[in-house]
Amino acid sequence: AQSVTQLDSHVSVSEGTPVLLRCNYSSSYSPSLFWYVQHPNKGLQLLLKYTSAATLVKGINGFEAEFKKSETSFHLTKPSAHMSDAAEYFCVVTKPSGTYKYIFGTGTRLKVLA
Protein backbone atom coordinates (compact mmCIF):
# COMPACT_ATOMS: atom_id res chain seq x y z
CA ALA A 1 0.00 0.00 0.00
CA GLN A 2 1.09 3.54 -0.61
CA SER A 3 0.52 6.68 1.41
CA VAL A 4 1.85 10.18 1.70
CA THR A 5 1.98 12.51 4.69
CA GLN A 6 2.38 16.22 4.46
CA LEU A 7 3.71 17.20 7.83
CA ASP A 8 2.42 20.77 7.94
CA SER A 9 -1.08 21.89 7.05
CA HIS A 10 -0.02 25.56 7.06
CA VAL A 11 3.33 27.24 6.51
CA SER A 12 4.00 30.98 6.72
CA VAL A 13 7.16 32.61 5.43
CA SER A 14 8.24 36.15 4.74
CA GLU A 15 8.82 37.24 1.19
CA GLY A 16 12.42 36.60 0.19
CA THR A 17 13.03 33.87 2.78
CA PRO A 18 13.41 30.14 2.05
CA VAL A 19 10.45 27.80 1.69
CA LEU A 20 10.37 24.23 3.02
CA LEU A 21 7.27 22.07 2.57
CA ARG A 22 7.66 18.59 4.01
CA CYS A 23 6.42 15.32 2.56
CA ASN A 24 7.00 11.76 3.73
CA TYR A 25 5.84 8.74 1.79
CA SER A 26 5.24 5.07 2.31
CA SER A 27 5.43 2.68 -0.59
CA SER A 28 6.12 -0.98 -1.14
CA TYR A 29 7.44 -0.11 -4.60
CA SER A 30 10.07 2.30 -5.77
CA PRO A 31 7.69 5.21 -6.07
CA SER A 32 7.16 8.06 -8.43
CA LEU A 33 6.59 11.31 -6.55
CA PHE A 34 5.10 14.62 -7.60
CA TRP A 35 4.47 18.07 -6.24
CA TYR A 36 1.47 20.01 -7.51
CA VAL A 37 0.41 23.57 -6.71
CA GLN A 38 -3.17 24.80 -6.59
CA HIS A 39 -3.90 28.50 -6.64
CA PRO A 40 -7.38 29.63 -5.54
CA ASN A 41 -10.06 28.62 -8.01
CA LYS A 42 -7.47 27.12 -10.33
CA GLY A 43 -6.61 23.56 -11.29
CA LEU A 44 -3.58 21.71 -10.01
CA GLN A 45 -0.37 22.57 -11.80
CA LEU A 46 2.61 20.22 -11.87
CA LEU A 47 5.68 21.70 -10.18
CA LEU A 48 8.04 18.75 -10.52
CA LYS A 49 8.24 14.97 -10.51
CA TYR A 50 10.65 12.25 -9.46
CA THR A 51 10.72 9.03 -11.47
CA SER A 52 13.88 7.21 -10.30
CA ALA A 53 16.37 9.32 -12.21
CA ALA A 54 18.30 12.09 -10.42
CA THR A 55 17.37 12.39 -6.75
CA LEU A 56 17.45 16.19 -6.86
CA VAL A 57 14.63 17.35 -9.07
CA LYS A 58 14.28 20.88 -10.34
CA GLY A 59 10.86 22.22 -11.19
CA ILE A 60 9.19 25.36 -12.35
CA ASN A 61 9.28 28.75 -10.63
CA GLY A 62 12.50 28.00 -8.79
CA PHE A 63 11.20 25.04 -6.79
CA GLU A 64 13.15 21.85 -6.27
CA ALA A 65 12.77 18.65 -4.27
CA GLU A 66 15.14 15.95 -3.14
CA PHE A 67 14.22 12.28 -3.00
CA LYS A 68 15.74 10.66 0.11
CA LYS A 69 15.03 6.97 0.20
CA SER A 70 16.62 6.44 3.62
CA GLU A 71 14.30 9.04 5.11
CA THR A 72 11.32 8.26 2.83
CA SER A 73 11.04 11.97 2.21
CA PHE A 74 10.46 14.25 -0.76
CA HIS A 75 10.55 17.77 0.67
CA LEU A 76 9.86 20.78 -1.55
CA THR A 77 12.14 23.81 -1.26
CA LYS A 78 12.64 27.23 -2.78
CA PRO A 79 15.49 29.59 -1.85
CA SER A 80 13.42 32.77 -1.85
CA ALA A 81 9.66 33.02 -1.53
CA HIS A 82 7.63 35.32 -3.73
CA MET A 83 4.16 36.64 -3.01
CA SER A 84 2.85 34.69 -6.00
CA ASP A 85 3.91 31.42 -4.33
CA ALA A 86 1.02 31.68 -1.88
CA ALA A 87 -1.13 28.64 -2.68
CA GLU A 88 -1.95 25.06 -1.66
CA TYR A 89 0.72 22.47 -2.37
CA PHE A 90 0.08 18.75 -2.74
CA CYS A 91 2.56 15.90 -2.57
CA VAL A 92 1.58 12.83 -4.61
CA VAL A 93 2.88 9.26 -4.67
CA THR A 94 2.21 6.64 -7.28
CA LYS A 95 3.67 3.51 -8.79
CA PRO A 96 6.34 4.04 -11.45
CA SER A 97 4.51 1.93 -13.99
CA GLY A 98 1.23 0.18 -14.54
CA THR A 99 -1.98 1.76 -13.33
CA TYR A 100 -1.46 5.35 -12.32
CA LYS A 101 -3.47 5.85 -9.19
CA TYR A 102 -2.38 9.08 -7.58
CA ILE A 103 -2.34 9.12 -3.80
CA PHE A 104 -2.54 12.73 -2.64
CA GLY A 105 -1.41 14.21 0.63
CA THR A 106 -3.79 16.47 2.51
CA GLY A 107 -2.03 19.58 1.28
CA THR A 108 0.03 22.41 2.77
CA ARG A 109 -1.21 25.94 2.52
CA LEU A 110 1.67 28.34 2.02
CA LYS A 111 1.24 31.92 3.14
CA VAL A 112 3.79 34.52 2.09
CA LEU A 113 4.04 37.63 4.22
CA ALA A 114 5.12 40.96 2.79
Binding site: Q45, L46, P96, K101, G105, G107
Partner: protein, 114 residues
Protein backbone atom coordinates in the same frame (compact mmCIF):
# COMPACT_ATOMS: atom_id res chain seq x y z
CA UNK B 1 -1.96 23.89 -26.50
CA UNK B 2 -5.28 24.04 -24.71
CA UNK B 3 -5.45 22.47 -21.29
CA UNK B 4 -8.18 20.38 -19.73
CA UNK B 5 -11.49 22.20 -20.02
CA UNK B 6 -14.30 21.82 -17.51
CA UNK B 7 -17.75 23.30 -17.31
CA UNK B 8 -19.53 24.70 -15.53
CA UNK B 9 -17.01 26.27 -13.17
CA UNK B 10 -19.61 26.76 -10.44
CA UNK B 11 -22.96 25.15 -9.79
CA UNK B 12 -25.51 25.70 -7.05
CA UNK B 13 -28.44 23.30 -6.78
CA UNK B 14 -30.94 22.15 -4.22
CA UNK B 15 -30.68 18.70 -2.74
CA UNK B 16 -32.36 15.89 -4.64
CA UNK B 17 -31.80 17.71 -7.94
CA UNK B 18 -29.63 16.20 -10.69
CA UNK B 19 -26.40 17.81 -11.83
CA UNK B 20 -23.89 17.10 -14.59
CA UNK B 21 -20.29 18.13 -15.14
CA UNK B 22 -18.46 18.11 -18.44
CA UNK B 23 -14.78 17.62 -19.19
CA UNK B 24 -12.77 17.90 -22.40
CA UNK B 25 -9.25 16.49 -21.98
CA UNK B 26 -6.07 17.60 -23.68
CA UNK B 27 -6.10 16.55 -27.32
CA UNK B 28 -4.58 13.12 -27.79
CA UNK B 29 -4.83 12.12 -24.13
CA UNK B 30 -6.34 8.66 -23.93
CA UNK B 31 -6.68 8.51 -20.17
CA UNK B 32 -9.22 10.62 -18.31
CA UNK B 33 -9.79 10.88 -14.57
CA UNK B 34 -12.52 12.32 -12.38
CA UNK B 35 -11.57 13.34 -8.86
CA UNK B 36 -13.51 14.60 -5.86
CA UNK B 37 -11.85 17.23 -3.68
CA UNK B 38 -13.45 18.05 -0.36
CA UNK B 39 -12.55 21.25 1.43
CA UNK B 40 -9.13 21.06 3.04
CA UNK B 41 -8.30 17.69 1.55
CA UNK B 42 -6.44 16.26 -1.39
CA UNK B 43 -8.29 14.98 -4.44
CA UNK B 44 -9.59 11.41 -4.42
CA UNK B 45 -10.09 9.38 -7.57
CA UNK B 46 -13.67 8.62 -8.55
CA UNK B 47 -13.17 6.97 -11.93
CA UNK B 48 -10.49 6.48 -14.58
CA UNK B 49 -11.08 5.90 -18.28
CA UNK B 50 -8.77 4.39 -20.84
CA UNK B 51 -10.33 5.65 -24.07
CA UNK B 52 -14.04 4.88 -23.64
CA UNK B 53 -13.55 2.09 -21.09
CA UNK B 54 -13.93 2.73 -17.36
CA UNK B 55 -11.00 0.74 -15.98
CA UNK B 56 -11.17 1.88 -12.35
CA UNK B 57 -14.50 2.97 -10.88
CA UNK B 58 -14.13 1.32 -7.49
CA UNK B 59 -14.50 4.65 -5.65
CA UNK B 60 -17.52 5.86 -7.59
CA UNK B 61 -20.74 5.77 -5.50
CA UNK B 62 -22.78 3.99 -8.09
CA UNK B 63 -26.12 4.48 -6.42
CA UNK B 64 -26.16 8.15 -7.35
CA UNK B 65 -23.08 8.83 -9.49
CA UNK B 66 -22.59 7.89 -13.12
CA UNK B 67 -20.06 8.79 -15.77
CA UNK B 68 -19.61 8.26 -19.45
CA UNK B 69 -17.01 8.82 -22.12
CA UNK B 70 -18.84 7.55 -25.16
CA UNK B 71 -16.39 8.43 -27.94
CA UNK B 72 -13.24 8.25 -25.86
CA UNK B 73 -12.77 12.01 -25.84
CA UNK B 74 -14.89 14.24 -23.61
CA UNK B 75 -16.67 12.94 -20.54
CA UNK B 76 -19.66 13.69 -18.36
CA UNK B 77 -20.03 13.01 -14.65
CA UNK B 78 -23.57 13.01 -13.27
CA UNK B 79 -25.07 12.99 -9.80
CA UNK B 80 -28.71 12.08 -9.35
CA UNK B 81 -30.04 12.91 -6.84
CA UNK B 82 -27.56 15.28 -5.24
CA UNK B 83 -27.11 15.29 -1.46
CA UNK B 84 -25.78 17.97 0.84
CA UNK B 85 -22.57 16.00 1.32
CA UNK B 86 -21.82 16.15 -2.40
CA UNK B 87 -20.77 19.78 -2.06
CA UNK B 88 -17.15 19.74 -3.19
CA UNK B 89 -14.90 20.46 -6.14
CA UNK B 90 -14.98 17.95 -8.98
CA UNK B 91 -11.72 17.82 -10.89
CA UNK B 92 -11.04 16.29 -14.26
CA UNK B 93 -7.55 15.28 -15.36
CA UNK B 94 -6.02 13.63 -18.38
CA UNK B 95 -2.80 11.90 -19.34
CA UNK B 96 -1.34 10.49 -22.54
CA UNK B 97 -1.93 6.91 -21.55
CA UNK B 98 -0.58 4.03 -19.55
CA UNK B 99 2.98 4.86 -20.55
CA UNK B 100 2.74 8.39 -19.23
CA UNK B 101 2.42 9.21 -15.57
CA UNK B 102 1.88 12.94 -15.48
CA UNK B 103 -1.73 13.97 -15.05
CA UNK B 104 -2.88 17.39 -16.18
CA UNK B 105 -5.77 18.90 -14.30
CA UNK B 106 -8.64 21.14 -15.26
CA UNK B 107 -9.81 24.07 -13.09
CA UNK B 108 -12.60 22.02 -11.53
CA UNK B 109 -16.31 22.49 -10.96
CA UNK B 110 -17.27 23.79 -7.56
CA UNK B 111 -20.63 22.31 -6.52
CA UNK B 112 -22.78 23.65 -3.71
CA UNK B 113 -25.83 21.64 -2.72
CA UNK B 114 -28.37 23.54 -0.62
Amino acid sequence: EAGVVQSPRYKIIEKKQPVAFWCNPISGHNTLYWYLQNLGQGPELLIRYENEEAVDDSQLPKDRFSAERLKGVDSTLKIQPAELGDSAVYLCASSLGTSSETQYFGPGTRLLVL
